[in-house]
Each structure stands twice: as C-alpha cells, then as structure tokens.
Symmetry: C2
Subunit: 548 residues, 2 copies
C-alpha cells in the first residue's frame, strides 16, 4: 500500500506516512504522473476542457474559506484536482494558443523540476544551497557574457567574488526591473559628505541633501506596466515615470527623450534612469538602444534595458544585431521563463558593473555575513528556490546554437504570418513583427476602401464598431477553445492615434505550424461574418460612404 491513503483518524503515525511512504506507481497520482511523462500534450488535451466555462461557475468550486477538518485521500483529492483545477486551467503550451508569452516546454524540464523541488534548496544562503550558489552565479555569468561579452579574466575575477555580483536571479521581470531601478536610485542618491545615502536616510533627506525637486525615470509610452509599480514602490511616485513619445514602430523617439530631459532639468527634477525596451510586451518592438545609450551617457543617467521578452534574441547570431547597444546598458532584465523556455518563475537582472549592486547590499547576523558568498545579500527576495538549475540545464542541453534556431524560427514564422495577413483582403496588419510578436485586426475589404474616403467623424464611428468587433471575435474565439489570440489597444499613427483594438499574436511556441496560422485567420473570419449586430452596422456605414 502506498501513501495513496487518507491519514486515518489523524494520528501521528499515519501522518508520518505521507513523509515516508511514496505514492504507489499504480495510485491515481502515480498514474497521472506517468501519463504526464509519457505524453504531456495528450494529457493536457484530454484533461483541459476546451469550451470555456464562465468564471462565476468555476468559482463555485473554490468558495469555501474553511480549512478542511477532515483529511482527503490523496487519490480522491487528485481526482478532484483533475476535475476542478486541471480541467479549467489554460492550455498555455497548446500550439494553437498563440496569444500568450508562454509556450510548450522541453520535456526534460519536467523531471528536472521534480529533482529541483525534491532537493528543496534555499538560495538565500550557501548553508542551504551549497553547489546551487556557484551554479546560480555561473548562470548569471552566462547571461552577463551574452549581453556584455567581457573576456574570461573578467568572469574569473568577478563571477564568484563574495563582494560582487553580476546580477540577481528572481521570480520574474517585475522584480528584476524593480531591482534595477532600486540600484539606480540608490546610486543616484548615494552617501555624500554628512549625508549617509538614500538607503539609510530615505528619500526625503536625500532630496533635501541633493536639492532636487523631484526624481524621474524615463521610458517610452510602450514601457511595461511594472515600471509604474516600481516607481510607486521605490517612493519616486508614478507621476515621476515619464512617458516618452514613440514613432510609428512603437520605438522611443530620441529627440523627444532629449527634450523631455531638458524640460525636467529646467524644473530641477533629476532624471536618474532611462529605460530602453527590447521587445515591447504588446508589439515586440525594440527601442534604438544605441541612441538611448548616447543620451544616458551624456546625462549620466542609469541606462536600464527591459529585455524581459527580447533578451533571448541575443542567442541568435543572425538577429542579435536588433539589440545593438544593449551592451552599453548599466543593467538588463531578462526572463528565462519567456524565450528561454523555462517554466514560470525565472527572472534575472544583470549589471554591467560588478560593483553596482553594492548600493543595495545588506547583511545580518545569522545570515549573509560579510565576506560570505550568500546570494541573498544582493536580492530583493529572501528565500528562493533553485530555479537557476533549470536555466543551467537548458543552456547545456539546448546550447546556444539550439536557442538560435528557436529564436530564428519564431521571428521567421512571425514574418510569414505578417505576409499571410497582408495577403488577406479583409485583414489589416497593425504592427509588423520585429521579433515574433505582431498585431492585426479584421476589417472587411470594402470597409478598408471606405476608410480611405471617410471623413474624420465617419472614421471615428467605423473605428468604434471595428473595436467592438475585434473584442467580439477575440472573446468568441477564446470561448470556442480551439485557438487563442490575445487582445490589446494601440494608438497607430496610421489611424491618427485613435485607440485601436487589435489581436496580438506571440509566435514563440516551436510547435505552432503554418497550418495553425491559416486556421486561426479562417476561424476569425467565420466568427466576424457571423457577428449578428456589429458587422451589419459596419457594412451599412461602409455602403453609405462608398455611395456618397
């Protein structure tokens, strides 16, 4: 008998069994695990219900706030999980689900994850992580080298230095961005004469000492929402995250950036960080990093690049030029759980200067003693798992050229899909893919003609209906459950910066074939044409314009 058993009568001896007796291979849980190992996609296809159940219905299964007084059998509970949780989870790895930044994962990561979890290391300190500490430092070194390409001597000197840090591993891009801006803020308001530094005395004293009226972080209007959160947490204030205009390819305008900096300085506001985006979340575009670097250098600003999405492109010798200038950044965010195909929870921030993180270093008595190599001295988080091991293994098993192939095929697939959309008379490409993200919408061919002739008022009216139609199509497609694209709102120059709802597609899943791209479009067309109210309204307006 395995531990696939209830803790009968809740006595300590039977309770101990769950710590000592493994699940029997023929138990419910053992069976599931085996199925999952044998064919993950089949397992997910079988168990995830395709058609969407309303959230309010799902919530009914999760409505009891009482912690159960009676233990469940492991087998019973496993069945319950299959019925209520797995069945209504999202099939993030499905090849036809091309609206998320999640993808299929390499198979070897499943058993490796289990090893990682079974080892249950805590990377905050050597004492609870031993080999995992140098392993994580090596992973940070690898990413650092990918970005900055320093020589071997550099990494020999700094990678394992107790007093230095090439970066921090963290749960995701948000924490990575906050960490980068935390370091930037503390370096901008560092100890000076009597003033002991913002980390000790706080922002109010820092501003008084330096005589600034405000601090500012600059980023394009396409910057990730986490930056607003960072500005709030760090005490700078969301208003001090200054949006800079973008061009018609969603890239920051360097001249606007310069003008904004001049304006801020005229008000005695200190622009202490400029952020370049390498792969905007909505359209996958990359800021002109070299131009930003020039400006940041001149203004002595911290230059951070949010490459949470696009950073993995550096793996490709064919496309890494798209990120030219990233090697001049003071810090870079990369999410391994995005285009490095690692499970959720693997963010990183890298710093060019191995001493940069000094400004956020912290120590304690029983942990992170000075001179120790404890990773926790330089992380925002405390206790952390050994996720770095999964990045380490993927680097070795997939290798750089393997990642190059994955990146290249994603970019080329997006180009293919963009061409495909442009060939359709009733679809409109809104943002061309620079990486593997693109946006588009459904617009009947005749309506496209009408829009070219329409007055501003007519345009606005049609736009309003098209926005509703886009939402309708996207929601219906999601509810059908066969395929999924996401939705966002852009302000394309072509449409006079009117708010435009668009389908957003992310083509990072290597299992997404061209046939799927064709059928996604076909399904959207069918849904659009079945729209009971919106399409007739759009058609009527179109007729009116074309006839006048």
């Amino acid at each position: 008998m395995g531990s696939d058993d209830k803790i009968v009568d809740v006595n300590f001896e039977s309770l101990l069994r769950i710590f000592t007796v493994p699940e029997a291979p023929d138990s419910t849980l053992g069976n599931i695990e085996q199925k999952l190992s044998q064919n993950l996609n089949e397992f997910l296809r079988e168990h995830i219900v395709a058609e969407e159940k309303p959230l309010s219905e799902i919530e009914k299964d999760f409505s009891d706030a009482a912690i159960p007084e009676i233990p469940s059998f492991v087998s019973e509970h496993t069945q319950h999980l299959l019925d209520t949780v797995v069945s209504h989870s999202v099939h993030t790895s499905a090849p036809s689900f091309i609206g998320h930044m999640t993808s299929a994962l390499p198979y070897f990561l499943m058993p490796l994850s289990k090893i990682m979890i079974a080892l249950n290391q805590n990377l905050v300190k050597i004492e609870t992580s031993k080999a995992f500490t140098p392993l994580e430092r090596q992973v940070l070194g690898m990413l650092h080298r990918l970005i900055y390409g320093e020589n071997d001597t550099f990494y020999q000197q700094w990678m394992h230095s107790a007093e230095h840090s090439l970066g921090a591993f963290c749960s995701g891009g948000t924490i990575a961005n906050i960490t980068a801006l935390w370091v930037a803020r503390n370096n901008a308001l560092k100890a000076d004469g009597q003033f002991q530094g913002v980390e000790k005395e706080g922002l109010f004293n820092a501003m008084m000492h330096y005589g600034y009226k405000g601090m500012a972080i600059l980023v394009s209007e396409r910057g990730h929402y986490s930056l607003k959160k960072a500005a709030d947490v760090l005490g700078i204030g969301q208003h001090s995250l200054i949006s800079v205009k973008t061009d018609d390819q969603n890239r920051i305008c360097p001249t606007s950036l310069e003008q904004t900096i001049r304006d801020l300085k005229a008000q005695n506001i200190k622009p202490f960080a400029i952020i370049g985006v390498a792969g905007t979340t909505e359209t996958g575009n990359i800021d002109p990093l070299d131009s930003i670097a020039d400006i940041a250098e001149r203004e002595q600003c911290h230059f951070h690049v949010d490459a949470a999405w696009g950073g993995a492109t550096l793996m490709s010798n064919n496309y890494r030029h798209l990120l030219k200038g990233i090697e001049r950044a003071d810090s870079v965010t990369i999410d391994a759980h995005k285009q490095l195909y690692i499970p959720m929870g693997a963010g990183m921030v890298l710093f060019k200067d191995p001493s940069a993180m000094k400004s956020i270093e912290h120590h304690a008595e029983y942990i992170l003693r000075k001179g120790s190599k404890d990773l926790g001295a330089h992380t925002l988080e405390g206790s952390r798992s050994g996720m770095a091991m999964l990045v380490y293994s993927s680097m070795h098993i997939i290798s750089r050229p393997g990642y190059e192939l994955l990146i290249d095929q994603s970019i080329e697939k997006a180009q293919y899909f963009a061409d495909l959309i442009e060939q359709q008379p009733d679809f409109e490409l809104i943002s061309k893919p620079e990486l593997c993200i693109l946006t588009y919408r459904y617009v009947p061919a005749s309506t496209q003609q009408a829009l070219a002739l329409a007055s501003a008022t007519e345009k606005a009216e049609i736009h309003q209906y098209l926005n509703e139609l886009t939402t309708f199509i996207q929601k219906s497609q999601r509810e059908n459950g066969r395929s999924f694209v996401s939705r966002t709102r852009l302000t394309p120059k072509k449409w006079d910066r009117m708010e435009t709802n668009v389908f957003r597609v992310v083509l990072a899943n290597p299992l997404t074939g061209k046939d799927i791209l064709h059928s996604v479009i076909e399904e959207q067309r069918v849904i659009a044409q079945s729209s009971p109210v919106l399409l007739p309204k759009i058609k009527a307006l179109t007729e009116k314009i074309l006839q006048s």
Copy 2:
C-alpha cells in the same frame, strides 16, 4: 528511442524532439526520476556527498561563463548534474539536519509539483491561469479565516470580489513583508486635498504635504533582516526602521515601544507601522501581540505581524493561543514553505480589510483591466507560478487536524530537547523554546561554576573563547556531514547582553526522532573535547578562577 539524445547537428527537426518526445522511462533521467519517486530519502542519501567539499573546489565546476556552443546529451548532462550539483547540494530534508527552516516534504507534493510545472500557468491574470485564480483566492481566504476567523458571509462577499483582495501570494516572506509595508506607507500618505497620494507623487511631495520630518517603522531588535531591506526599497530609509528593546525572552517591551513612539512624535516623525514578530527567526519567540495591537490602535498605526515562521501555529487549537492578538493585525505574513511543509517559494501576506490593498492597486491596458479578477492588480510580483495549488492540496490532504499534529509534535519535541540540554552538565540552554526553535551552547560544567564567580573581565574573556568554541563545534559538525545545527549570535540578559554565539536548532522535521537529538549532543560534546586549542584555554581560565 526517447529524447534522451543530443540535438544532433542542431537542426530544427531534431530540436523539436525535445518538445515532443518524452524522456524514455529507461533513460538516465527517467531512471533518476523513478528512484526519486520510490525513495526520495534514499536517493538523497546516496547522491549527496556527506563530507563537505570546500566551496572553492565546488566553484571550479561552475567557472565557465560561456554558454555552450555544443549541445549535451540529456543523459550525459543528467549524470553531470548528479556529480556536480546534486552531490554537493544540502540535504535539507535529512532528519538530522536540524539547523534550517526547511524540512522533509510530504511525498504527494513531488508529483503535484510536476503537474503544476507542466501546466505552467501564469497567475498574473485570468487569461493565463483561469481556475488557478479562484483557487489562489480560496487559499488566501483559508489563511485569512485561519487568522481573522470572519464568518461565511464575509468570505462569500470578498473572497472572489474583483475590486478587493484578502492578500497576496508571493515568492516568500520578504516580498510579503515589503508588500505589507508598501500598503501601510501608501495608506499613511494617501491622497488628501490637492495631494494625490504617495503612490502618484512620491515620498518627497508626501512629506512636504503632510509636514512630517520623517516616517518610522517600529519592530523589536529581533525583527527579520528583510524589514531593513523593505525600509530601504520603500524609500523610508534603513535608519527609519526603529529597533525596540526586548525582554529576556526576546519579546518586544511594550513600554519601550510606547516611549519610542513618544520620542519619534516629539521629533515630528510619523510612526506609520508597528511590526509584531510571531516566531523570531533566531529563537522562535512571539511578541505580546495584544499589547502591540492596543498601542497601534491608539496611535493609529498600521499593525503588521511577521508570522512567516510562527503563523502555522494557528493550525493547532492547542497552541494558537500563543499568537493571541494576531487577529487584530492589519496584515500578517505567513510562509507556507516553512511550517506548512510546501516546497520553497510559497509566501503570503493577508490583510484584515479587503479594501486595504486598494492603495497599491494598478491597472494596464492589455492586462489587469479594471473590473477583472486578475491577481496581478494587487501583487508586487508580475508573472507568477501556480504554487498556490500545492498549498491548496496540502490543506485538503493533511487537513487542519493533521497540521495540528505536526505543529504540536514540533513544539513538544523542542520542549523535550530543551529538557535534555538542561540535564547535561556541560551544555547551557540559552533560549527556551516557545515554538520549535531553541538555542544553546557547550560550556564545560566546571566553567559554568567558574562563570558564577568570575569578575567582569574574566567573564568577557571566557565568553570570547566560548564563542570561538561554539563556532568551531558548529563548523566541524557541518563538515562531518552527519548532522547539522545552525549558529547565530544573541545578547542574552543572563550574560549582561554580551554577544553570545549559540547553536540554533529548528525542530520542524517530523522525521527527526529523539535518538537524533541525543546523538547531536553527543557529537557536539566529542567535537568540543577534541578541540586542540580552545578547550584547553577555557579549562585553564576556569581553573584559575576556581582556585582563586
């Protein structure tokens, strides 16, 4: 043939195999997984090298910053992991490793973790997590109810409300504490007249508006180091984290707390948060929460309880009275990866008032739209994994009475160990266990007599050697690899607040038997007696004092 194969020639077709062809059950990785499933402890015992290898040696295996240009076979790499990583990791679940806050994990969590990772949900938004969102909300509801015990109507009303939040799931206690203090700061400096709130305008404007000279967070001198980090990140400054004196049981002195608040207010510094500790990291003591609640109410301060360690005690109807007053806290931190026996990466912060988190709420265009139930609107982190599922399952499988047993036996085992130490003539108990943590040290019986007679100078000298001896014993024991206790430095009242190195023991692992406790002491005694320099010095001093 499984995918236990190299990506030969790195072409796309062979690369696809790692996404489509599972590891064969008879592959190296398949075999390891099976062994791990059959007997985790045996696997770890077999593969983790007992004797400690110097870190500098281990680092040699992790010294190359270059991302490999040539892919490794999965089997080859797995063997490499066993040899270099697993073998030199820390056996955190070993019953004789009683110095960490990690423990053995219930078996069922291993396969469940694999399911969680294979599903790869992203809990930042419904769109990528569906059923996981209500599941996580329910888990937060369960913990909220455990602390605050509101009635069913309360949970029906708030648990799944889009505009509200009972708390946040996060990677660990540090992020939980930062989140609580972030909320507290924003509520203390909220919008008022022309002022739009600290979240928008930042700390400098906030202080100008409210006319404060500073902000302060108060916590006992035994508060966790993460609070210092929080004060830094939030722009308050580490100096504004004010340490309050503790009594001889490491508990905050309410009268000192009141005096400190008076002093701060006299300087026009706003004490906006008081933190009670429920389970200090070093000694497991619990602050008088009710007394703190009285003071916080009177002063209109946010009252936060850091129960990262001790919160799970609420599961025991026999011991939950130790945390009396926690139900009056505005927010509470609990780590499920500590005494709820979940793998690393499961922290939570709960808020009494479902509207408290409004002050840190954020929205974006394509995500976290207003009115959505996206969890990301109220978390410091962005993308997050479905760890909450493991808590959910443990609540059901272990159940409240099961957790009660686990908590009770930990506390009682610690009491047993404390008694055992007091029975030894050559050991000294430094902190009595209130929960399952205690500290002690080795002091020869005759030296204990001598210390009672010694002058202040002599005491200090002996103490110095005893400190070195404690360090020596702890390090030697760790290097031997049979058992492990941790080490910290306290300032016990009994020893005139002199800095005193102590062994720290955490008895949360249900597999730790009484025989192990006996042998830990025996091993420490043997090491002490073999000390080539320190013990002879201590003995000589002892003789001198006893003879005079």
